[in-house]
């Protein structure tokens, strides 16, 4: 089962190294990691997706992360109601023969075309992991030249925030 950890950390150089290093040396697998500043410029939020079949491994991951002095707060939000998003950009081969079809797919997924070249287009889409994977699959037959995908970011729904959660 994949676990989603929402981690507030000090926004300082080296914090990412501490966290990534911890995962590497203790043999935990990171599925994805996204990090950015929060409303408080001294704090960053990391959304870490961890593969953990064994609950004991997840427990160790969270305990070890909590031990880091730079980790301010950690929540395993897997069981909570949360909104999560990933962003994908896909460069697809495109000419006059299939342009219409591609645009139709883009519309269906409520994605956007953000660049158009002579033989390619770049499509941007956001959504949860399932949607993002689905658009990738749908565009594959046209020939994907390049692709980039962020890790998942997530926020718990409702009134909870980092001061009272």
């Amino acid at each position: 089962m994949k676990h989603t950890l929402s981690v507030l950390v000090e926004n300082r150089p080296g914090v990412l190294t501490r966290i990534a290093g911890l995962f590497a040396r203790r043999g935990f697998n990171i599925n994805s990691l996204a990090v950015g500043e929060t409303e408080d410029p001294e704090v960053s939020r990391m959304t870490i997706v961890v593969d953990g079949e064994d609950e004991r491994i997840i427990e160790q991951v969270t305990k070890q992360l909590n031990k880091l002095v730079d980790v301010i707060k950690l929540n395993d939000i897997t069981q909570d109601e949360f909104v999560d998003r990933e962003l994908i950009m896909i460069k697809v081969c495109c000419d006059s023969s299939n342009r219409a079809e591609i645009i139709q797919i883009v519309d269906i997924f409520r994605a956007r075309i953000v660049d158009m070249g002579r033989n390619t287009v770049i499509i941007e889409a956001t959504g949860d992991g399932g949607k993002v994977s689905a658009i990738e699959t749908s565009l594959k037959p046209f020939g994907i030249k390049e692709l980039v995908r962020t890790g998942k970011v997530a926020l718990v729904r409702g009134a909870k925030n980092r001061h009272n959660e």
């Binding site: 950390v9 190294t17 501490r18 427990e59 305990k63 909590n66 031990k67 002095v69 730079d70 301010i72």
Partner: protein
């Protein structure tokens, strides 16, 4: 003071405010400003012979005094030479603050002369570390470093200070408060879990208390004694826990694990309840984990939540300071008896004592036993790593906390002698004995110069078999006696080596010499090497073979049964 002092001077002021008496170190270019500032302080600088010695000394100082030990080195090789010692302190939860010089900020990242990313290198082996980028941060960071090192589960904290950061003017006032929103150790045990633990203790017929170094760190040895006596529960200790419970006490099972006593290992295997206090269920203790205490419910009390449930499943976890948790437990505990269980343990002790053949040869076990007797089991003993370490653990019979300093977690050869120097610096009146071997001692013997300079009357008991005999023992059991790379044919005469430092060199070669030579050494008031010549064929027994349970130990050498 605000605008007139340098970062280095601000740093020294914090050291003074933290009560630091000694700094163990080795100078160099990048750390010059800090050495310069230290010159104007009352703090004594102990000049070592190799940076690794400085961190082991700070470790020995900390473990003896219960205060934070401090060491210092320059950038680059000075810093990297500390790495083994930092890892040693980390594994054994020893509070040490390590200060390293760094190349100037304008040079950082350019592969400058003697530049190394020591904060990067030491992330996995420090509790926390800092690269100080601005002079104004020095007072805050130094305060935090001491706070982190000594609170919660103690550990080493490294502060890396670029040369210009140390020499610039420091405009920050030191504050008394430390504010770390991501670091708040929990000291008080959860009352509900304590209730559950009490219930489990009341229901148990065959309980065992299993004690580690955490009891010493939390100064809970008195509470441990009270708890064990009130509940009439036998106590076994790990290597790090030796001395936390008097080994001559009738409830003592002495050390458990790989080279533990048969009665400790049997008791743990048969127990229906195991109460782990400040331990981490290390592989040297558990043997094959699936065979460890198979019938026991487990109560685990530790200040570090990450240790609970890491290696074994736990029935009652209690996160907190052992001293406080034990006080809670004792106050609510009804006095108990476990006479049947204690009778069983008495039988095990009678039938399976620690033993070795006598037969006229000089036996290291006998020497350690004698040392225990002659020092009332009360000396401050340090050890290196090897067979001698295990004989010290098995045969000295420790009676007091902080009486045995050894590298338990990392198993660092070359630890014992510098640790003894740190220990003796912390307690000038103590009788300090560094138990070592010819292998380990040669990893640290350059510190003889430091011991002479500081006028320390340490007794170095050096078991010499011209062999790395614990490795030889592994080859004996696991490599079909194909011995390789274990014999030293170029060893010096260690007694003469002592003499060339104007120290005393003595030798023990027969059983008859043991008592008189030890007495001479213990009473001469001088730095002394006692070279004890033993056979390379000695084995450390009992021994739990790889992948076996604790009750499947080998008790006797083949042919001696």
């Amino acid at each position: 003071m605000a605008s007139t002092i340098t970062g280095a001077q601000a740093l020294v002021k914090i050291l003074e405010a933290e009560g630091v008496k000694q700094v163990f170190g080795y100078p160099g270019g990048a750390v010059l400003p800090i050495y310069d500032a230290l010159l104007d302080s009352e703090i004594e600088h102990v000049l070592v012979r190799h940076e690794q010695g400085s961190v082991h000394m700070a470790n020995g100082y900390a473990r003896t005094s219960g205060q934070v030990g401090v060491c210092m080195a320059t950038s680059g090789p000075g810093a990297t030479n500390l790495v083994t010692g930092i890892a040693t302190a980390y594994m054994d939860s020893v509070p040490v603050v390590i200060i390293t010089g760094q190349v100037a900020t304008s040079m950082v990242g350019t592969d400058a002369f003697q530049e190394v990313d020591i904060t990067g290198i030491t992330i996995p082996i420090t509790k926390h570390n800092y690269l100080v980028k601005e002079t104004k941060d020095i007072p805050r960071i130094m305060k935090e470093a001491f706070h982190i090192a000594r609170s919660g589960r103690p550990g080493p904290v490294l502060v890396d200070i670029p040369k210009d950061v140390a020499s610039d003017i420091c405009i920050a006032e030191p504050s008394d408060k430390v504010e770390l929103r991501g670091y708040k150790p929990n000291y008080k045990g959860h009352p509900q879990q304590i209730e559950r633990a009490l219930k489990m203790i009341n229901q148990s017929q065959k309980p065992v208390i299993y004690v580690g170094g955490g009891v010493i760190n939390s100064r809970a040895t008195e509470q441990l004694l009270e708890f064990a006596e009130k509940a009439q529960i036998p106590v076994t200790t790990t290597l790090m826990g030796l001395g936390s419970f008097p080994e001559n006490h009738k409830l003592s099972l002495r050390m458990l694990g790989l080279h533990g006593t048969p009665f400790a290992n049997y008791a743990v295997t048969q127990a229906d309840l195991l109460i782990g206090l400040g331990v981490r269920f290390d592989d040297r203790v558990t043997g094959a984990i699936e065979k460890f205490a198979p019938q026991a419910k487990i109560i685990h009390i530790d200040i570090d939540p990450a240790e609970i449930g890491k290696n074994v499943g736990v029935d009652v976890p209690i996160v907190g300071d052992l001293r406080l948790v034990l006080i809670d437990l004792i106050s609510k505990l009804e006095p108990q008896e476990h006479s049947e269980w204690l009778e069983q343990i008495r039988r095990w002790k009678a039938e399976h004592p620690l033993q070795y053949g006598q037969g006229g040869k000089l036996r290291p076990q006998y020497v350690m036993e004698k040392l225990g007797e002659l020092t009332n089991h009360n000396a401050l003993v340090t050890s290196d790593v090897g067979q001698h370490q295990m004989w010290a653990a098995q045969y000295y019979a420790f009676e007091r906390p902080r009486g045995f300093l050894t590298s338990g977690g990392l198993g660092t050869m070359g630890y014992g002698f510098p640790a003894a120097i740190g220990a003796q610096m912390a307690d000038r009146d103590a009788l300090v004995v560094a138990v070592t071997g010819d292998g380990s001692f040669q990893m640290a013997m350059q510190e003889m110069g430091t011991a002479v300079e500081q006028d320390l009357p340490i007794k170095i008991m050096l078991f010499n078999n011209n062999c790395l005999a614990l490795v030889r023992q592994l080859q004996h059991f696991y490599c079909d006696k194909r011995y390789t790379a274990v014999n030293f044919t170029g060893n010096p005469d260690f007694a003469k080596f002592a003499e060339c430092y104007n120290a005393v060199g003595l030798k023990i070669e027969t059983p008859e010499q043991v008592e008189p030579v030890l007495k001479e050494a213990l009473n001469n008031g001088k730095l002394t090497i006692i070279e004890v010549k033993i056979s390379e064929e000695e084995l450390v027994l009992p021994m739990v073979p790889n992948a076996r349970g604790l009750d499947e130990m080998v008790e006797f050498p083949y042919g001696e049964e």
